[in-house]
Symmetry: C2
Amino acid sequence: MFRSHTCGELRLQNVNSQVTLAGWVQTVRKFGSITFVDLRDRYGITQLLFGEELNAMLDENPLGREFVLQVTGIVSERSNKNKNIPTGDIEINVESFKILNKSAVPPFTIQDDTDGGDDLRMKYRFLDLRRNAVKKNLELRYAVNRATRDYLHQQGFMDIETPFLIKSTPEGARDFVVPSRMNPGQFYALPQSPQTFKQLLMVSGYDRYYQIVKCFRDEDLRADRQPEFTQIDCEMAFVEQEDILNMFEGLIKYIFKAVKNIDYTEAVERMTWEDAMWNYGNDKPDIRFDMKVANLKSAFNKAGSIVATGELINGAGFGVFDNAETVLAIAVPGASEYTRKQIDELTDWVKRPQVGMQGMVNIKCNADGTFKSSVDKFFSEDKLKAIAAFANAKPGDLILILAGPEERTRKAISDLRLELGERLGLRKKNEYRLLWVLDFPLFEYAEEDNRWVARHHPFTSPKPSHIEVMINNDPVIENAAEYLKHPYSNIKANAYDMVLNGNEIGGGSIRIFQRELQEKMFSALGMSKEEALHKFGFLLGAFEYGAPPHGGIAFGFDRLCAILGGSESIRDFIAFPKNNSGRDVMLDAPATIDDKQLQELQIQLDLEKKA
Amino acid sequence: MFRSHTCGELRLQNVNSQVTLAGWVQTVRKFGSITFVDLRDRYGITQLLFGEELNAMLDENPLGREFVLQVTGIVSERSNKNKNIPTGDIEINVESFKILNKSAVPPFTIQDDTDGGDDLRMKYRFLDLRRNAVKKNLELRYAVNRATRDYLHQQGFMDIETPFLIKSTPEGARDFVVPSRMNPGQFYALPQSPQTFKQLLMVSGYDRYYQIVKCFRDEDLRADRQPEFTQIDCEMAFVEQEDILNMFEGLIKYIFKAVKNIDYTEAVERMTWEDAMWNYGNDKPDIRFDMKVANLKSAFNKAGSIVATGELINGAGFGVFDNAETVLAIAVPGASEYTRKQIDELTDWVKRPQVGMQGMVNIKCNADGTFKSSVDKFFSEDKLKAIAAFANAKPGDLILILAGPEERTRKAISDLRLELGERLGLRKKNEYRLLWVLDFPLFEYAEEDNRWVARHHPFTSPKPSHIEVMINNDPVIENAAEYLKHPYSNIKANAYDMVLNGNEIGGGSIRIFQRELQEKMFSALGMSKEEALHKFGFLLGAFEYGAPPHGGIAFGFDRLCAILGGSESIRDFIAFPKNNSGRDVMLDAPATIDDKQLQELQIQLDLEKKA
């Protein structure tokens, strides 16, 4: 061993012992004939004191930042103690030292507030990883990993590894593929998730399966998406939705306790997808604060399960409302005294291209019970009062109203709600609110192909009471514009998402486990019998040999860690992430490969000529 | 929940409770108006009793093997108890039942001794996985996984995930590559191991890293090799070889205790690579039994560290020995009374093409102290006695001698030793003997390229005392035939293998951590400066910024599990293995992909025309 103790370990009780430490030089401070060095390792920082004699040797072998140093010396009590670090009471009176390795001057400082930009830190990721801020993230990630395994083990789950070289079944996202040298002309695919394998394991009788596993999607990368990402992947047999919800809110609560020491004792709230969309404009509402959306005109739910309330605003002569497909309002608590400037700024905010609104109407609900609105001339005080009541606004609140096409307006009011929640400090960093969103639609309509696609995935079971609707109706959509009138629009799935502070952290479903129903699902999605057999014959086959009822869930591990770490960016919680072009800039990968490799794989490049 | 208890849970103390079970129909036995069903799940088997009334319903809905069944009933004491299963004292008096899913007749029986052949079982792997024999293997695998994580966690190791989409650095085995759609013409590679990443993590200060991780090698598959396999991958900083040996024999002992309840308290034996080759003809000797190899002629170690003993046999006029490069003997304990037939059979065994010997000489060391040999006419009783003494043969032993070219003969005697150990019952199933093999050569000579290759990998450090030899000598081999005279032949590495019962279960090394030495290593392997920078520039760069001394090890997880499970085949311990052509016959993967996928990747097939 190069050390007797770590740099985070020594305390007053160690005073007078001889110790050997090894680590990195964080700082060097010379005071006349004495030199102080802060020596850093994974566990902490310890101050070293080089006295007169050794100082001369240091002059010959000067220490630089990030040098790897080994010292032997005596633990001594410090006169000027540093209360900010656990080792701050002591220092090492160095007797001998050895430079184990030198370091060039690092391209950025190894500190919490580094002077390195993103690109530089990614290129020198091995240095970035030395920073305490990044190290804490990876430690948190490991703690979440560990807690997950402990809980699932206690609950009787088995970690079973599923293969990485599988079959390409293009449905949903794009697969990464791997040419097979031994089977020329054929390709493996990397799994987008172990979905079908975990279902097969249920058929095989392993009734509680889990894995913390890498998955791959070759999609155009948006900010904070990675081509390879990690999932906590779970499946259970002989269960109903209720069992899964209980089991996995237990998991997240266990993680809260183990990792954040939070006792999340209350039951996890539940909300249907329709309610989430109606009340928050969003299927992953942040319920740390209220500020619900009021639908002033038409219900988003064209299927009609919620009564439209257009009479509040229609016919007042205000064309913007009259002509809009949707008019949505939120009541911002205590904001009735916002200045013109503040409101203009918010209006500009919703007019930005990312939000895309034409404008914003406001109603100030004054503390004295009166109202002041930008549309005073169209709406009487009584009307304004009625709108305020409908929007749950109290005296002192500011009502903000957006009008426009349904989907865009819904997203805009949701964004605005989150933005104001942020500005008003309602999205508290240290508050965690879990939510189950339930009863998702089974299908979505894909305009470009004029067909149904599975909202979750093709293995998701309809609600039992909706199975008949699926079986008894032809999926064909005669009139694309009226797809909402097709009975498939109303079919709900036995699917659920877990939402934490406005982020979807996991989702799953009860699966189809009968061959006939699965075949019907494939055909509803426009797959021919041959295609279904070619892609999923193994699963259909397995369903013939005694498949049990089953269901499961997968959590986005990277995102879960990021949220628990209080960050928006998953990249900060991945040791070696890729950039937005899918590149590892440290490795400089992907890269060209040798002609010999291409020949062995019996493929060649076929690059598009650039204009 | 579809059940109140599992099929392995109920005991006499549950008698009279109403329970609900769900599982698979293992057997159906009708006795007049009563039917017995064995219901199976992951946890066990419980006997169900269908009385007269329900029997009529069974007639309408007949149960078949592997049907998924849910029953509710009363736990009752059995009159004819089955002592072979933990639930054998009770049965369920069924009150109601529901067939949750039917099953076609499975293509083979779901039993320990199945009637299914390999191919059929692989195609229907989801059924094969139901068999108790396979389930026990996966449970053992999970137990090893769990024990590994527990131990390494206790020792302060952190699980840190490394990327799967990396850069191809063809050196050693062939990479699987993944075309990048976002970076046309460029490819990722799948990792053969996280080697460089774990070293970077050491540079980053994460001084105890581990992962249980999938690795990929596109090699021609021999029996029992998989294109994707799992490693326990570990690395430590600020350590010397001794620290690593202690840490990881601790791991394996911990696994023994946790998984097999074996207290492996004795120190793990250690042996140099030279001694292993000399005494066992093999670098992974099975030390559960002795039967060491005696080198009757030239030492295998041409470098000359062990004295040759040719005087025992040379010049006796027996041309086979005189002309052979190597003559090797083993003394088979208690086999002096083998019949002519038995010896002929052994001679045939060594003459098989897999072993490739021309013949075999024997000396019977009779119990009365006399000798009888197939080469009596060349060797006097005194000579035979001297040979017997040298071969450590006792009265009653049979000495077997093989002669021929060095490498083949060494392998043959090693194979023969293992075969006889097996036949004599010396390789006891339930005995586990660990061994560290140390001081491997740093380089091997690659005849085809007339250059040195790294025996372990190019990141392995030479023994400190051998570094000078490496630095001060030109790697060029003037005379290929005399490569053994090149000083590089004598350089030993700080590398170690862990051997369990004759299987290499893990291997590792202390790494190079200085840029200059790493560059020297790349150049010794015939890599140009440019090539080294292109492939490993990130690592060389990292070594400039304060790399600590470090080393590590990787265990073959599949093999470790197989050995602990008492099997030769790793395939039995992988949930979804591939066959010898790298195919998953259940999925039918790899497979062709859509033209659209090829176009998006900007590659095309370039299939060789078959003659």
